[in-house]
């Protein structure tokens, strides 16, 4: 277990500044997810922690040690890549033990560690296979096994589930969370998928154009987003945003309300609109409503399925409104 501290870290590629000055402390033992849209600098940040890219300026400490200038293997980290990055000419056993063999670890110790990792990840029957004989999920498990055997202080995951299908992604998500519970190691996980971030993290760092928008627990970010970007990025479907007079009336220049915090009815007072589409997800239904304040999405019951093309009234919960002014939250 180790904490990771980024101190006034910046990164530029030529004239392009990818990460402006950034300070961040990732607590020891936490499962921290760096989330943001493509190109926000989250993978660059992870690669700098790994030692695969050098920061332009700033400091970087892992477990209190300044690791700038150190080789990736000397930083006490292990990394799982999006594309698995397995050695195709080696068996699963050789893939997992490669780092240990390079470090000239005692063969008995290597066997013990490989056995331990393969037991955790249920890789025992696959140890003598080559990567091309494995499914996507199994390959990613081998990549995780390769990380585990090195007993790193910090695990780095770079969008490890992006190449898997939806069902497998759900399963692997649970497996990685169980692994964190078991190893209690610091894990830094990069994803662009806010659902992954919400379900896996105990701490989320939302990045936008290389800047940290907000850091906090998943529900903290969901319930009290500090910026319109976080409000729009966290949550699916996205938070409804209203500008203009209605927002001004609530004391801001932007008013946000989540789909589940709006009540849909056919009569009463509120925002009037017309249902143009209903998405049936089984457990939930979402109505797409064109209102006087723009298009909105509202979570509704199954009874609303008969309301397509009807005029409806939307009533937001007054204590669930998110009010922003000049790009910052003004309400609790």
């Amino acid at each position: 277990m180790a904490d990771v501290t980024l101190n006034k870290l910046t990164k530029s590629f030529g004239p392009v500044e990818v990460i402006p000055e950034l300070d961040l402390t990732i607590p020891s033992g936490s499962f921290t997810v760096l989330v943001g849209p493509s190109g926000c600098g989250k993978s660059t940040l992870l690669r700098m922690i790994a030692g695969l890219d050098d920061p332009t300026t700033g400091g970087l400490e892992i477990d209190g040690d300044n690791v700038l200038g150190k080789q990736p293997s000397d930083r006490g980290i292990a990394m799982v890549f999006q594309s698995y990055a397995l050695y195709p000419h080696m068996s699963v056993r050789e893939n997992i033990s490669f780092g240990l063999r390079l470090a000239k670890t005692d063969p008995t110790e290597i066997d013990a560690r490989v056995e331990e990792a393969s037991k955790i990840l249920q890789l025992d029957p696959l140890l003598d296979r080559k990567p091309k004989q494995l499914s996507g999920g199994q390959r990613q498990r081998v990549a995780i096994g390769r990380a585990i055997v090195r007993h790193p202080k910090v695990f780095l995951f770079d969008e490890p589930l992006s190449n898997l299908d939806a069902a497998l992604r759900g399963q692997m998500r649970v497996e990685i969370m169980e692994l964190h519970k078991r190893l209690k190691a610091t894990m830094i996980y990069v994803t662009h998928d806010q659902v992954e971030a919400m379900t896996m993290a105990d701490r989320i760092v939302v990045l936008n154009k290389g800047n940290i928008e907000q850091v906090g627990a998943p529900l903290e970010l969901y319930d009290t987003p500090q910026t319109p970007f976080v409000a729009g990025f966290i949550g699916s479907p996205k938070m409804n945003m209203i500008e203009g007079a209605e927002a001004e009336a609530h004391g801001g220049d932007l008013l946000g309300v989540r789909p589940e915090d709006i009540t849909l009815s056919t009569e009463g007072s509120g925002w009037s609109g017309r249902i143009t589409l209903i998405e049936q997800l089984g457990s939930d239904s979402y109505a797409h409503v064109v209102t006087e304040h723009g298009a909105m999405i509202v979570r509704c019951g199954r009874e609303a399925s008969d309301w397509l093309d009807r005029e409806v009234v939307l009533t937001p919960a007054s204590d669930k409104l998110h009010i922003f002014r000049n790009g910052h939250r003004v309400s609790a």
Binding site: A78, Y87, L102, K132, L134
Partner: protein
């Protein structure tokens, strides 16, 4: 899916091309089993009375067999030296991310593209001074000048095909650049190495100009030794054909034996 007519067209074109390529070899093979009279029969016959005399005489010719052994040694040596030079060079050029890469590659290609004749005089004089005339080492050296650039160009594309993330995984695992090269990139580029080795071997095996000008007897290669059968008394076509087939054999065996590497891929390492 190809339609039947398209398939037939493809087969016809392929067979016509193969026939065009193989016709001289079939003629050579046929001639090698003919007696002197059958070779000049009119009209010519593809299959005549089969005789092994030509092979018997060529295999019993100590000079030719000495040259044949020279060819094997020179070609193998050229493959080894070319690979020792080309593998790290190709890997380095493949990983180079600066604009000088294009310039360097152009220079490498220029050496290969220049006609061999312009090298003959400088090398002839240099080899005389260095005592490399009529030596296998000299021939290996001069062959390598031409085969190493060829190998570099072939190998670069294979090293380019090794995904960057796999190398980065090796760095994270604690590998140095050299270990990443030898233990990750090289095995993954094995099909490319095999392809390059085959082409270098074939080039060296068939090389004629330098073998003719830089050797006398001691290091003469088989390709040049065939000329011995073209004397003042006449040309011994049967022996030339038999010697030609013998020269062709190692290349054919080598190419067939190593064929599987051409289709080997690095599947499974990364998400395809």
């Amino acid at each position: 899916m190809l339609r039947t007519r398209e398939k037939i067209f493809c087969y016809v074109v392929a067979f016509a091309f193969i026939l065009f390529l193989l016709a001289p070899i079939v003629w050579l093979l046929s001639t090698s089993f003919k007696g002197q009279l059958d070779i000049f029969a009119d009209p010519p016959r593809l299959i005549a009375t089969v005789t092994l005399d030509n092979y018997r005489e060529v295999l019993g010719d100590r000079d030719f067999m000495h040259s044949f052994l020279n060819s094997i040694l020179v070609s193998s040596g050229t493959v080894i030296l070319s690979m020792i030079l080309a593998l790290p060079a190709a890997y380095g050029l493949s990983r180079l991310r600066s604009k000088t890469k294009v310039g360097l590659l152009s220079w490498v290609l220029l050496v290969r593209a220049a006609p061999g004749m312009i090298y003959v005089i400088p090398y002839f004089m240099a080899f005389n001074e260095l005592g490399l005339m009529d030596t296998k080492a000299g021939l290996i050296l001069i062959n390598t000048v031409f085969t190493a650039p060829l190998a570099i160009w072939i190998l670069i594309s294979f090293f380019d095909g090794v995904p960057g993330e796999i190398e980065e995984a090796a760095f994270v695992d604690g590998a140095t650049r050299w270990q990443t090269f030898t233990r990750v990139a090289l095995p993954m580029a094995a099909p490319g190495i095999a392809s390059a080795a085959i082409l270098v071997f074939i080039f060296s095996w068939n090389e004629f100009l330098f073998a003719l000008t830089m050797t006398r007897f001691e290091s003469k290669t088989a390709a040049v030794a065939i000329l011995n059968y073209m004397g003042y008394e006449g040309t011994e076509w049967g022996k030339i054909a038999a010697a030609g087939i013998l020269i062709l054999l190692p290349v054919a065996i080598f190419a067939i034996g190593i064929r599987k590497y051409f289709v080997q891929t690095s599947a499974g390492g990364v998400k395809g």
